[in-house]
């Protein structure tokens, strides 16, 4: 699903709400059948660890840890730490066409494009149902961006998660089946508010 909106239109806020790192003051928010609003903070954290993967614009990895360390850290917050962790991370790296030798490299020695791909692997390590991506391509140049998008789309074969991809970039729309224009969304809300 493609979530389009200009800067400041509330993309990140919406993603924050979905991820459970922000809490709504009123209303209801159901994800995967779980009412997020009524969860206690600790339950929300563990819900996030188990069901949601997140990829940011940049700074997705702990810089002083190795790639393997980053993946392992993300795995350690999950409810059931996986036994096939090694196979899983190697499999993910391969499907994101990353060299396995990168596993032992420190994250901050990788190029930005590589970091973003490792970030996807990190987000997918716990088999989330939902992958939230907040402008993950804005720090990439055009070529890297296109290959990144292709890889992102190809992981649908690896993992059957829903991708919610927020961006202001209309040209990326072509990769997605569904799209939401956040400005329309906001207008509808305003109209609703003025009517009441």
């Amino acid at each position: 699903m493609f979530l389009r909106g200009a800067s400041g239109s509330g993309k990140s806020t919406l993603l924050g709400l979905l991820a459970g790192t922000l809490t709504a003051q009123s209303g209801s928010l159901k994800i995967l059948g779980t009412e997020l609003i009524s969860l206690r903070p600790r339950e929300r954290d563990s819900f996030r660890a188990n069901h949601i993967g997140i990829v940011f614009q940049q700074f997705n990895l702990i810089p002083f840890l190795t790639v393997a360390g980053n993946l392992r850290l993300a795995g350690s917050f999950s409810k059931e730490p996986r036994r096939d962790f090694r196979e899983k991370s190697e499999y993910l790296l391969q499907s994101l066409s990353l060299d396995l030798g990168l596993l032992q490299r420190r994250a901050d020695t990788l190029s930005v494009g590589q970091q973003q791909r490792v970030a996807i692997a990190r987000a997918l390590i716990n088999d989330p149902e939902l992958l939230l991506a907040d402008e993950p391509t804005s720090a990439l140049d055009a070529d890297t961006r296109d290959s990144f998008m292709c890889l992102l789309m190809s992981i649908r074969h690896v993992s059957d998660c829903t991708i919610i991809f927020a961006s202001h970039d209309r040209s990326l729309m072509k990769y997605f089946d569904t799209e939401i224009e956040l400005s329309e969304f906001n207008r509808a809300k305003k109209g609703l508010a003025s009517r009441v």
């Binding site: 990140s12 993603l15 924050g16 991820a19 790192t21 922000l22 903070p41 600790r42 954290d45 563990s46 996030r48 660890a49 188990n50 997140i54 940011f56 700074f59 997705n60 990895l61 702990i62 810089p63 002083f64 840890l65 360390g69 850290l73 993300a74 917050f77 999950s78 990190r122 716990n126 907040d134």
Partner: protein
Amino acid sequence: MSSLWSRRGSVLLTAASLTISMVIVIGVEHIRAQAESSFVRTISNVDLLVGARTSQINLLLYSVFRIGNATNNIRWESYEDIAARSEVSWSIPFSLGDSHQGYRVLGTNLQYFEHFRYSDSQGLRFSEGGAFSAVLHAVLGSEVANSLGYELGEEIVLSHGIGNTSFVNHENLPFTVSGILAPTGTPVDRTIHVSLQGIEAIHLGWQNGAQVAASGLGPEDPRLADLQPTQITAVLLGLETPMAVFGLQRAINNYPREPLTAILPAVALGELWQIVGTLEGLLSIISILVLTASLLGLSTMLLSSLRERSRELALYRAIGARPLFILLIIELEALSLTLISVCVSYLTVTAGLALAQSWLSENFALVIGVWPSTTNIWLYIGGAIAASAALSLIPASIAYSRSLGHVLRSA
């Protein structure tokens, strides 16, 4: 933790400051405790210390610590009278006032080597030779022998008075070293012991500190052995039963024939230590303040690191870490830094003492155990660790509450 390593500059400085302050705390406390015990143990098993009428601290200082001068002397008859009392089990006369190369000379008798006790009832031991068997024999404390390089059989000339360089020497009667004592860690190490007759012999023909007539005595003179002391400086008394202490003390303080003071050494030592102890208390306070300052430095370092780590911390949250995890990693950082500093400083103090041990005992007669292990030191170490945990709660809780919101936005 690799997170610490990635900020090693500020982390190492903080650890260094913590280590230095812990060295100060442990060092001061250890030396304080050791000094106190070596101080209180200078003299033991003595029930009463008798001197001419003076304050009890003054009497203690000049007779036991050989600091300062006696205000007055005790007549030999008074000594014989007191020593003959039925309560008295043994008595050691002290005659002070001469010196050799800055070391005090103590005139005494053979009772001294038999009954003098220090530390926990430890007696004196000879490392070489034995007690004096002739009038002009001398027994050296270990430090005297070491620093002046004297050996058995060496002839030494005593000086009148206690100055480091005296112009008046008792050159006509040199003493022969008959024995050297094993180290005790007390003023005994810095003392030259001779017989009372020896002291008497070198002062024959002296009046008011000046030689008015030649005594005509030579080292081989048979009259030496018949000399009777006329006055002494102090007396150590051991009693048959400790119950008699207060009665005898009162009797001596009211001695009719001359004004005398009898004190209980343990009480006087305690009183003296209270005076010295004030200074030590001050040292302890200063060292604790230094430690507090560097613990505050630790939490300042952690606090300012939060800014550069905000992305890192937000990321932990985004991948599912609970805020408690954030709190714990910051606490863990503080604690591991403190623990490392404690270990390093403990080892530093120990190594330093091991190196300085011989020097300290040679120059200050301070015998110091190498491993600091008094309860106080463990309390200080525990307190430092607890305080670092408590103080780092400030940055940790700030990180905790900050990490609760704005995760996506700050990333």
